[in-house]
């Protein structure tokens, strides 16, 4: 947003001014910060990273507000307009101009000036049923009045979201990059190395995203869906005696899909990000599973920390208990957010050939005095207490966050439009986000709103 390129460490001999890394918008923001200790030259109060971050964060909102009405890059759109549209306010080449309204003779087949119900009806069927409506359906729709068309369109959507195409195919394609299966070590491994069952993850994803259920269960579900689509609270009602992992893997029961799930109490269950497969695929053998934390953010909050998104640093972090060098300035920028979340995932087994993959283990962190040394908080939530230790506490905050809502909206709108969302959809996304809570995070309700939008139904 503010930088033309990544800033390098301040070194008077090499980089006389950090301003050279800023674009026009960044410079305007810095100027607005001028009267604050951040740039006044009195850096005596900025000897610690914490002080630096606190000062910057304290004064940044006011600085941003001060320049939001300006047009820093001179492209004809104010900084605020560009931010709301998603273009870069410091880059004149980055701007959005809405396409001109169509002109010419009336188009008898497509209403290109607004929402075209016939066009939308066909799109609903193709998107959610996986096939266009039949000729007879199209004719009946065309013959109906506007109100009847609305009824038919939404009825079609209801019909489609109950099909196997939607539940067992289309939703699973949405889940692919969130689950990331590896056939060689999945349930049907041909080499006898079944580390987990990603199909359990697919079932859970599809279940939560259908049936008028609460989508927050993507992060909060404390149940599983077995291979007969039953909701299973605890796959081991009568756990085998003893604690040997090998015994716990083979509990008999006709409805139990033991291979797919990890044995965790509710306090350690957090939907898709605490499944056995999630830990197998992401934590693997890591002591500090930063990859798991990053994937949780990317998949369910839409924040790619590798692109500096979703930064919510915990002051005092990173501590770097495993000595990976993440306290270096270039690394700390992101790891001050990532590492605290990774601490929560530390308590879950990754790949364990003894059969405990994915299980919560309070004794797993190998570093002495781990919990007293690191900052165990995420979103201001403490996670040192045994009852709240683990991913659950993060998930409860994350599931109710704006980021979760935005990701949910973008996921479903992106699925419908099959393109990366841009400035044209910015307002639509914002409006849909405001409905998610009122709709109790019901994905079907969200889809009903999506199909009524201009971006969906306008040719």
């Amino acid at each position: 947003m503010c930088h033309e390129r990544e800033p390098e460490p301040y070194d008077p001999a090499v980089n006389p001014s950090p301003l050279i890394f800023l674009n026009s918008y960044g410079i305007d923001v810095v100027v607005a910060l001028y009267d604050t200790p951040y740039t006044s030259g009195d850096r005596s109060t900025l000897q610690t990273r914490e002080a630096w971050m606190t000062t910057f964060e304290t004064h940044l909102p006011a600085a941003l507000a001060a320049v939001e009405g300006d047009d820093s890059d001179g492209d004809g759109q104010s900084n605020l307009e560009e931010i709301e549209l998603g273009t870069i306010p410091g880059d004149a080449l980055s701007h959005f101009t809405a396409p001109a309204d169509p002109t010419g003779d009336i188009n008898p087949d497509y209403d290109v000036t607004g929402y075209d119900a016939r066009f939308a009806f066909r799109r609903v069927a193709t998107t959610y049923c996986g096939r266009a409506p039949s000729y007879d359906e199209v004719q009946a729709f065309a013959d109906a009045d506007a109100q009847a068309q609305q009824t038919l369109l939404h009825a079609k959507l209801d019909e489609c979201t109950d099909t196997n195409y939607w539940k067992s195919y289309a939703l699973r394609r949405l889940a692919d990059n969130r689950i990331r299966p590896i056939q060689a070590v999945g349930k049907y491994s041909t080499i006898g190395v079944a580390l987990g069952d990603y199909y359990a993850d697919y079932r859970l994803f599809s279940y939560v995203m259908t049936g008028d259920r609460d989508a927050r269960d993507l992060l909060l579900a404390d149940y599983f869906i077995d291979h007969e689509d039953n909701v299973v609270d605890n796959p081991y009602e009568n756990p085998a005696p003893g604690n040997a992992a090998s015994e716990r893997q083979h509990v008999p029961g006709p409805d139990r899909d033991a291979d797919g799930v990890a044995l965790n109490d509710d306090h350690a269950r957090a939907g898709m990000i605490t499944t056995r497969w999630f830990m197998v695929a992401n934590t693997m053998f890591s002591e500090l599973p930063r990859t798991s934390a990053a994937q949780a953010m990317r998949a369910y909050l839409g924040e790619d920390i590798g692109m500096s998104e979703g930064l919510r640093p915990s002051l005092g972090e990173p501590i770097d208990p495993d000595g990976k060098g993440v306290t270096e300035e270039a690394c700390a920028r992101c790891h001050s957010t990532l590492d605290p979340l990774a601490y929560a995932f530390t308590y879950y087994e990754g790949i364990d050939f003894g059969g405990t993959s994915g299980e919560f283990n309070a004794d797993r962190p190998p570093w002495p005095d781990f919990e007293t040394n690191v900052v165990m908080e995420i979103y201001g939530q403490p996670i040192t207490d045994a009852a709240t230790r683990g991913v659950r506490s993060w998930a409860e905050v994350a599931a109710n966050s704006d980021a979760f809502k935005r990701n949910l909206v973008e996921m479903m709108l992106g699925q419908a439009l099959r393109r990366e969302l841009g400035p044209e959809e910015a307002v639509v996304v914002k409006n849909l986000m405001s409905t998610v809570e009122d709709d109790a995070y019901n994905v079907n309700a969200l889809l009903h709103r999506i199909v009524d939008t201009d971006v969906f139904g306008r040719p």
Partner: protein, 498 residues
């Protein structure tokens, strides 16, 4: 919505796509005609061979010789009898330690490879930044984002492929096929993802081979061509076509269907790229197809094209470059288990990641796989002139760079003196390059005998720098420098250049 959330919303996903897409589309409407076999001397070619699963450099071309101490016995060091150095080669090459382990019958190929290719091979030490397969595979292709998110294939294609039909082709597995994230990439440089190398050639023609000869395709082909012509008129005149003529999807699709397909047919891509043979229940003549007239030459170098996807990928990679269709190709074995024969497993389950079960057996099995195919590819390139009109002149290989990518190394410890042990993922490693464009017969960087950790080098002088490590961006820069691909932020790796 809080300001921070709002700020995050699209700020790094801003799009200028429409203009870039259409202008790039226009650029690709040039005719790719008779220049196919006359490659310009300035054309460079990149082959990325993905050693999927974690190919360890200290188990191939940079082993640490054991000094017999308990410390060394607890590290992944090799006794002298397990290391050999071919005549004229500066590379220490690891030999097999297991005659058999479980399902693997590892037979090292490292020394044999260097006997042939040491003069134009080099090793560069490198320490990556992720131990996750998918993430690390992607970073091995995009240099951890050093070039605005462009993959190596995209960067090379953007530089050298504007007049090619399929500039960048990616047949590799998993994260090696992750597209780049640079929004300014010209559309023509986007990677063509190929899932099935053996059958891909048929996708270069809309009709040929679809109808059996008993249906008299010679009679039907003109009828179908007329149908295509009628379809063009229908698409121009239908309400849908008229309403959405300017839609980028339609515009680009029609352009591809009308012009690029025509170019592919005119170039005879299907015939040039075809890899299938008669036999085993397949009679090509039944579908009006013939074997490629180069197939025998290809099979001498890559004998398992019909049954082994990795061989088929390498064959296709060669043909794509040989016919001037591509300048950047990626290939890799998958994680799938290929049995082969009882004494020669084609592909270990999980590829190099079978090291979790038996490290040395997995490494030798898979290095053999990687190196035999690379050797086959190099052989084909070495025997093909860059310019048909100058058969005794430079070869395709002279302008090529083969980068053996891998996601990470393996852990460095073992039970005392063990030859069978398991290893995990480890950031510290190195990569093999095979190219006359780079200094040959050389290791850039070194390995610490006390830790088995590799260390870096001065990229300008080539001198070892034991307190440093090289990163993905250094590797990316070296490849781009060798292939004449400039970009802002490219690091100077002159020590590696020939």
């Amino acid at each position: 919505m809080d300001a921070r959330t709002l700020l995050k919303t699209y700020s790094r996903r801003s799009i200028l796509k429409t203009g870039a897409l259409l202008s790039a589309t226009a650029a690709t409407s040039q005719m790719w005609s008779k220049k196919a076999r006359a490659q310009g001397a300035d054309k460079k070619f990149l082959f990325v061979v993905g050693a999927a699963g974690g190919g360890s450099i200290i188990d191939s071309f940079l082993p640490v010789l054991s000094n017999g101490t308990p410390a060394h016995e607890a590290l992944n060091t090799y006794t002298a009898d397990l290391v050999t150095q071919p005549n004229g080669s500066n590379f220490r090459c690891v030999r097999s330690v297991n005659a058999q382990f479980d399902i693997l019958y590892p037979q090292a190929y490292n020394a044999a490879f260097m006997s042939n290719h040491a003069a134009h091979s080099c090793v560069m030490t490198l320490e990556g930044t992720s131990v996750n397969h998918i993430v690390a595979q992607g970073r091995s292709m995009n240099g951890a984002g050093v070039n605005n998110g462009r993959t190596l294939l995209e960067a090379v294609a953007a530089q050298h492929g504007s007049d090619m039909l399929l500039p960048a082709v990616n047949m590799a597995y998993g994260g090696y096929a992750t597209p780049g994230t640079d929004k300014t990439l010209p559309a023509f440089a986007r990677e063509e993802i190929v899932g099935d190398a053996l059958y891909f050639p048929v996708a270069t023609d809309p009709i040929k081979g679809m109808l059996p000869t008993e249906r008299d395709p010679d009679r039907l082909r003109p009828l179908l061509n007329r149908a295509r012509r009628v379809r063009e008129d229908l698409d121009n005149q239908s309400a849908f076509g008229r309403t959405f003529r300017q839609a980028p999807l339609v515009e680009n699709y029609l352009h591809a269907r009308r012009d690029r397909v025509a170019a592919m047919r005119e170039e005879g891509l299907l015939e040039k790229l075809f890899l299938m043979r008669n036999g085993g229940g397949t009679n090509l003549d039944d579908y009006g197809l013939d074997e490629n007239n180069e197939i025998n030459t290809i099979l001498q170098a890559l004998p398992d094209v019909a049954d082994d996807p990795f061989h088929a990928q390498a064959a296709l990679a060669y043909l794509l470059v040989r016919h001037g269709l591509s300048c950047a190709v990626a290939l890799s074995p998958s994680f799938g288990f290929l049995e082969g024969t009882t004494t020669a497993i084609k592909n270990a389950p999980l590829g190099f990641d079978y090291s979790h079960t038996n490290h040395r057996a997995a490494q030798q099995t898979m290095w053999r796989r990687i190196l035999t195919v690379t050797h086959g590819l190099v052989t084909l390139l070495q025997n093909t002139p860059l310019d048909d009109a100058n058969p005794s002149g430079p070869t395709l290989f002279d302008n090529s760079l083969i980068y053996v990518a891998t996601e990470f190394g393996r852990s460095k410890t073992r039970p005392a003196n063990a030859n069978e042990f398991s290893t995990g993922h480890h950031l510290n490693n190195g990569n093999l390059f095979v190219s006359p464009l780079l200094q040959g017969n050389r290791v850039f960087g070194g390995v610490d005998a006390d830790t088995c950790l590799t260390y870096g080098f001065d990229p300008l002088t080539g001198d070892e720098a034991p307190t440093t490590v090289m990163r993905e961006g250094d590797m990316y820069s070296a490849v781009c420098q060798a292939l004449d691909v400039p970009f802002a932020g490219r690091r100077n790796m002159s020590a590696m250049m020939r």
